[in-house]
């Protein structure tokens, strides 16, 4: 008897194909939803920076400016050149047009400079302190090695908010209130443990024999670190640079406590102060917000190709 295939066979190949299409669809749709969720506020920030106050408050909102304008940015860069902004001079303008610039507007560029100085110093000092510390802990067996790892990590178990008051007291005793130094010191206290931790993970993944080979080849410990370990740990160094830069650039709580004047105020503090002015000018605020986003974005673009490999390097050996 010839074998005939049963009539109602299920076409498994077709099924699999459909299954794959559905799967891909779900992934794409979820990705779009997630991206929209994340990007919407940023897009509105950027878009509104190029709108007039009138357009910003129009209903429904314009996602794409109908009359794009650069005057918000012009106002930022010329703030302080004109007469000082006071309650009197401000009320001269037309409240409906919302052409107000905040009374602290002239501090914007100095505060940006403060933010940059603090962030860059924190990045550099992190590397200077964190790299040798991590190398020592990863590759040198000394008395108290494990204890120091735990100690470093334990400092990070305490929430920052609990540290604010002690930090404040110490900074005041040191007479460092309202200085950039106070920010650098406290940001280091927050970021160095992470830096050391990330780098320990990475250095431990590099074989001990590499370190030994370098030292037999004529390197001192420091030279072995610089000539062999650093070039190999570029991805994790980039992760550290990004992490410390962004943390310092965005930090708010400590900066709010320690800074009072334009001598040390950082960008997040100044931006926040705009919202507590006599009247809030959204156009100006959003333009300033865009400027605040630019440096981190530049840093991220420059180091983009290293980010993923650096962040996962610690987790998966090697």
């Amino acid at each position: 008897m010839p074998i005939t295939p049963p009539v109602d066979t299920i076409d498994y190949r077709r099924r699999q194909k459909i299954g794959r299409i559905v799967q891909r669809l779900v992934i794409v749709v979820s990705a779009i939803v997630l991206a929209a969720y994340i990007l919407a506020p940023v897009s509105w920030l950027v878009s509104s920076a190029f709108q007039t106050e009138t357009e910003i408050v129009s209903i429904p909102p314009h996602w794409i400016p109908e009359e794009p304008t650069l005057r918000n940015f012009e106002a930022i860069f010329s703030a302080g050149n004109d007469e000082p902004v006071t309650y009197e001079t401000r009320s001269g303008a037309d409240p409906a047009a919302g052409d107000f610039i905040p009374s602290t507007a002239e501090n914007l560029l100095p505060s940006m400079a403060n933010s940059l100085i603090v962030s860059i110093l924190v990045v550099i000092l992190n590397l200077l302190v964190g790299v040798p510390a991590a190398y020592a802990i990863a590759k040198i067996r000394f008395w108290g090695r494990n204890a120091s790892v735990y100690f470093i990590l334990i400092t990070r178990v305490i929430p920052d908010i609990a540290l604010v008051v002690p930090f404040f007291l110490v900074i005041r005793k040191l007479g460092m209130l309202d200085t950039l130094g106070s920010l650098v010191i406290t940001y280091l206290a927050i970021t160095v443990p992470f830096t050391v931790f990330i780098l320990i993970q990475y250095f431990e993944g590099l074989p001990d024999e590499l370190d030994k080979a370098a030292r037999v080849d004529g390197c001192s410990r420091l030279q072995a670190l610089i000539k062999v370990f650093l070039p190999l740990s570029l991805p994790s160094l980039v992760a550290v640079v990004l992490f410390t830069f962004l943390t310092s650039w965005n930090e708010f709580l400590l900066a709010l406590m320690f800074t009072q004047t334009s001598a040390s105020q950082t960008l997040p503090i100044l931006l926040a102060s705009f919202t507590s002015d006599f009247t809030v000018s959204f156009s100006f605020l959003n333009a300033a917000g865009v400027l605040a986003v630019v440096p981190p974005v530049i840093v991220a673009i420059v180091f983009e190709r290293y980010i993923v490999s650096g962040l996962t390097a610690g987790a998966v050996k090697g």
Partner: protein, 369 residues
């Protein structure tokens, strides 16, 4: 040029582990010394102390006349080849080989000349632009050798350099390493757990176990005249066979080893060394190859049992024998045909017997050596 001396050297690691105990060793200039022992016995620790990678906890390490206990590795004129090769992944082969010279501030021309020269000797000239990740295991091995060679160090250290290679390559590299030693005319200290490597390469072998030196001697000393049961068991394949029994004096200063079902009359020079030891509990060692098929010729006494297993290994075969409930292994010619369960008589080469104290495991006949 370097003579290396360990005087009562101990190494205790930070966690309290005592890795090397009371090491006394005098390595001659240009000697090829092999540290041999099972994994974890402290060979690498000893080598690392010579390199300066591990500190000496106690005792003195002396290069020529200078105590170097606290001299860091980059100030000692040593080069080292590692088991994992430890090539710098971010550097080309050329830069890997030249790195040690560069760190010692050699001129560009000198580096180039030496690197090219070493590459030619090792037949890796065509690989100089590659990175380690683009090389095979054997090629990496050669680069690692090259990196150590170019520096023309006064001490050349190798830590199991061949154990990551496949069997055939391992044997041909042995010959190259021996040639390298001849050509470089410098002191070599080589670590391995492979007895064949040790026996092939060494001028002298240092057998270690649990951080303690068991015996120091030429390959011949170590193999033919093992100082204790550890050394006797560690070398030889299949391993040496042991019989527990007692010594019994006979007429005319004769001395015999006696146990159930076995009486072996020892040769005269053994007997002379064992004079006065009759009644002593001993352990007799017979190396796997020290037997011959057939009944006793003069100088041979016989050993009878049944065949338990026959394992051909190419050139010859391993014969498992049941001897009164004990399992013995011998190596015999491959033309002998034996079936499982057959009874067999093997003649023992009495001149090559080893007699150890049963309690201490120390040899009773070779300890003078």
């Amino acid at each position: 040029m370097a003579r290396i001396r360990f005087t009562n050297v101990n190494k205790k690691y930070a966690n309290g582990f005592h890795a090397v105990r009371d090491l006394n060793l005098d390595i001659e200039d240009r000697e090829f010394i092999v540290l041999l022992g099972p994994s974890g016995c402290g060979k690498s620790t000893t080598l690392n102390m010579i390199a300066g990678l591990e500190e000496v906890s106690d005792g003195d390490l002396i290069f020529d006349e200078q105590v170097v206990n606290y001299v860091p590795p980059h100030k000692r004129d040593v080069a080292m080849v590692f088991q994992s090769y430890a090539l710098y992944p971010h550097k080309t082969v050329y830069d890997n080989i030249g790195f040690g010279l560069k760190m010692r501030n050699a001129s560009k021309e000198e580096i180039d000349e030496r690197v090219q020269d070493a590459a030619k000797k090792l037949e890796i000239s065509h690989l100089l632009d590659r990175r380690p990740s683009q090389l095979s295991g054997g090629q990496r091995q050669r680069v690692a050798l090259g990196r150590a060679m170019v520096r023309d160090p006064s001490v050349f250290l190798m830590d199991e350099p061949l154990s990551n290679l496949d069997a055939a390559l391992r044997i041909s590299m042995r010959a190259e390493i021996k040639e390298l030693h001849r050509a470089m005319e410098t002191t070599f200290v080589y670590v391995t757990h492979d007895q064949a490597e040790a026996l092939t390469l060494a001028d002298r072998i240092v057998v270690m176990n649990d951080g303690v030196v068991q015996q120091i001697g030429t390959p011949d000393d170590i193999y033919e005249r093992p100082a204790n049961t550890f050394v006797a068991s560690f070398l030889g394949s299949p391993p040496i066979n042991y019989f527990d029994g007692v010594l019994e004096a006979g007429p005319d200063d004769e001395m015999a080893f006696v146990r159930d079902g076995l009486r072996l009359v020892l040769p005269a020079d053994h007997a002379a060394r064992l004079k006065g030891q009759e009644g002593r509990a001993v352990r007799l060692g017979i190396r796997a190859e020290d037997v011959a098929e057939g009944t006793a010729e003069p100088g041979y006494n016989a050993l009878s049992g049944t065949v338990n297993s026959v394992l051909p290994v190419g050139s010859d075969q391993y014969l498992g024998m049941d001897f009164g409930g004990e399992e013995l292994f011998f190596r015999v010619g491959k033309d002998l045909r034996h079936a499982f369960g057959e009874s067999i008589t093997l003649a023992v080469d009495l001149n090559r017997l080893h007699v150890f104290d049963r309690e201490t495991g120390q040899s009773l006949i070779w300890n003078a050596a």
